[in-house]
Amino acid sequence: MVVSCEEVWREISNYLEGEVEASLRAAMEDHLRGCKHCTAVLDGTRNVVQLYGDERMFEVPLGFSHRLHRRLEENLPGNRRSFLGWMVAAAAAVLVAGSFEVARSSVFSRPELRSEHAQPGTGVPPDMLVIVSGDGKTFHAAGCPFIHDKAHIQTVKAGEALRQGYAPCVRCMKKYLTA
């Protein structure tokens, strides 16, 4: 079987999905070996699928999850509880509200660092974009080889990372620590 460039383009998506029958696949591969244009189209299309399929392409606005939960809290009925359960919940709510007040009143104090070995990053420009990861304790410059848990990274401003208790990576942020 011999296939034309147009036929290759028409089937390129199915080819990447592994959904073309063996004889057509063989004919396409035969064509691709001798056709630079179709090889370029195949490579590029594969890159598109690979890049967009990466989790890092999903970015949500900062605070999205918090606002979503707040909206749900306003609208979801609470758990069905006993009277005692309600009393316990009310007491817990008072405690939580109290702790928020305490936290707010100490807004100018230094946040608690996630790592006992960390240094506070006072020299880091607060608007610089840095990378944090879910389980990590430090923030990094993009591309730093010491980023932990690369599957769950997020880009935030350095000021926000500091506020959340992340500490600057002592390797990629070194210049800000010694400054």
């Binding site: 998506s13 299309t45 967009y52 999850s65 918090h66 606002r67 609208n75």
Partner: protein
């Protein structure tokens, strides 16, 4: 831990998800937060794919989650919860657009004939690229811009299949179209994106100046 960090992958133990849904139905409403946590980003991105506006996508994502809670009894265990949730989000986003933005014109590419063959515009050589480039914000930005420039039917299909990793059948069901249409739209979406990206990105990923102003199609 930052609140946005949630996994796109389905939970490791679907049994737990089933159990959670059952307990929520029985009145433990607080467990709903746990149920949706892995899907928060997925829902937002599905809404954004249709609306292309952060504020609208966030509102719709919230509406979709509320609707999922209110209709949790209608969820049937034979479907995946993630697919059901995506379907609700797509419907909400479409309704939102009809209601709020009925006067917005769709991009010109949407009027293209879906059935006709798609011919690549050029044959720029786009070699293998390291996925680490995605850590660069400007790269993600260019990819997002290219996606946003596609017509809606191509964008929706591409996002559900290639970004949210729904199957062809699930994508068809979520969009209310045939599997043949999903395949056709997917092919065109992928080829259009390649056309948009290959000339700018091909062969120059390692250069800091690879997106020099005025030389690229965007």
């Amino acid at each position: 831990m930052p609140e946005e960090v949630t996994s796109l992958e389905p939970p490791a133990k679907p049994f737990n998800e089933e159990m959670l849904i059952q307990r929520i139905r029985n009145g433990e409403h607080d467990l709903f937060y746990e149920l949706i946590r892995p899907y928060e980003r997925r829902v937002y991105s599905a809404a954004f794919a249709i609306l292309r506006n952060q504020a609208d996508a966030e509102d719709v994502a919230q509406e979709a989650m509320l609707k999922a809670f209110k209709n949790i009894r209608q969820f049937r265990a034979e479907a995946r919860f993630s697919t059901w949730l995506t379907q609700i989000t797509i419907n909400e986003a479409r309704m939102w657009r009809r209601k709020e933005h009925a006067n917005i014109m769709e991009p010109i590419v949407d009027r293209q004939d879906e059935e006709g063959n798609y011919t690549p515009r050029d044959f720029a050589d786009w070699r293998e690229i390291p996925l680490e480039t995605l850590e660069r914000k400007e790269v993600r930005q260019k990819l997002a811009e290219a996606l946003a420039s596609l017509g809606e039917k191509y964008r929706e299909t591409f996002v559900l299949r290639d970004m949210q990793h729904l199957s062809i059948e699930e994508t068809a069901k979520a969009l209310g179209i045939s599997t043949a249409s999903v395949k056709t739209r997917l092919l065109r979406a992928r080829l259009m994106l390649r056309d948009l990206l290959a000339p700018g990105f091909g062969g120059s990923w390692s250069s800091k100046l690879f997106l020099a102003k005025g030389t690229k199609p965007w």
